[in-house]
Amino acid sequence: MLITSLVMSLNQLLPVAILLVLLQVVKKQSALKIGSALLIGALMSFMYMQSASWVSQWFEHQGLEYSQIGLCITIFIAVLVFAIKQKSAAFYIAVISTITLYLSHYIIYLTSFWQSNDAGQSLFIGTLLGVGICLSFSVLLYFLMNAIKHRFGMYPLFTLLAFNSAAKLLVALDLASQIDLITNTATVWDLRDVLSENSELGRVLRALVGYEATPDLMSVLIYSTSSVIFLSLCYVISASMSKERV
């Protein structure tokens, strides 16, 4: 139970922590804004978790997937808008949607097993360890990305943000094929023997840039196209905005 809690907390908290760090490096937000976004996100997750059992029965047991696809697309658009315009509203929408998408699973896990015999202590320690590892990783990533930003400018940061956001579209794509909205295409490569998604590095890469060991053709196309569109819009609009300032 302790190891499961630790793995679960890392799986669900790491994507939120990474996105928060990347957005924070793009434009630093006040502690009040971050705190309120986290609080609203936690409340939204709780509300989503409460209604999830009911929503799951919509559209012939496919309601959850539709709602999660909506959240993934919202995150991609909000992060793109934040990267270009750096508006607070986009920051709030991106962070709250990400927390709702990921944290709700962990809340379901916690609330389900909290009542079990002897599970409380393991859940608590596992969660605490998971939060600690996430915080340590976030601090390292924050200083690394800040150093890269000062040394090489915004473009490496935009590139990582583009991959991270495109990964959310991959999640949406997997959910769409899970409910037969689209058909899976042929697997392009199989790297399960080289780097499994289940391994420590695989999990970190999955949270950071959406690593998949067995992606299909559609996933590769969507990932590369959306990353290119994200980067192009960032470069073109940033360049035109800096020209206007001159």
């Binding site: 047991h61 699973h105 379901i108 094929s177 037969d180 998949e212 060991a213 996933s219």
Partner: protein, 117 residues
């Protein structure tokens, strides 16, 4: 005229392909175990997994190999489509009980599947 006929045939084919019924496989989750824990499906065909959680706690169906993830609520049925897949072994597990709730999808020949069933 020929062009119109061709378009109509194409529309019919598209409609049929979208509505082609996928073969259904029932998996039951009970006492944090999947029954059956091993299912054999044909290669290059899409199939429907109907998963019924008979436990009193939720579970999350997770598979890195199949790129699937879905919360299974207690006493509810959930549907997951998988495939078309090439031949091989594709593991799945319950993320909330990964030590007990484990299973594998074996993708093989149609003949092998009949022999298994």
């Amino acid at each position: 005229m020929t062009k119109r006929l061709f378009n109509q045939c194409l529309c019919c084919l598209l409609f049929l392909s979208f509505n082609a019924a996928s073969k259904e496989y029932l998996i039951i989750l009970k006492d944090h175990l999947f029954y059956p824990s091993q299912i054999t499906i044909p290669a290059n065909k899409k199939v429907k997994l109907l998963i019924e959680n008979q436990d009193s706690t939720p579970e999350e169906f997770d598979s890195f190999d199949l790129n699937r993830e879905k919360v299974l609520y207690p006493n509810r049925k959930s549907i997951i489509y998988i495939g078309p897949l090439s031949k091989g072994y594709y593991e799945f597990f319950g993320e909330f009980s990964p030590n007990t709730a484990r299973g594998v999808v074996i993708v093989g020949d149609e003949e092998a599947q009949h022999a298994n069933n």
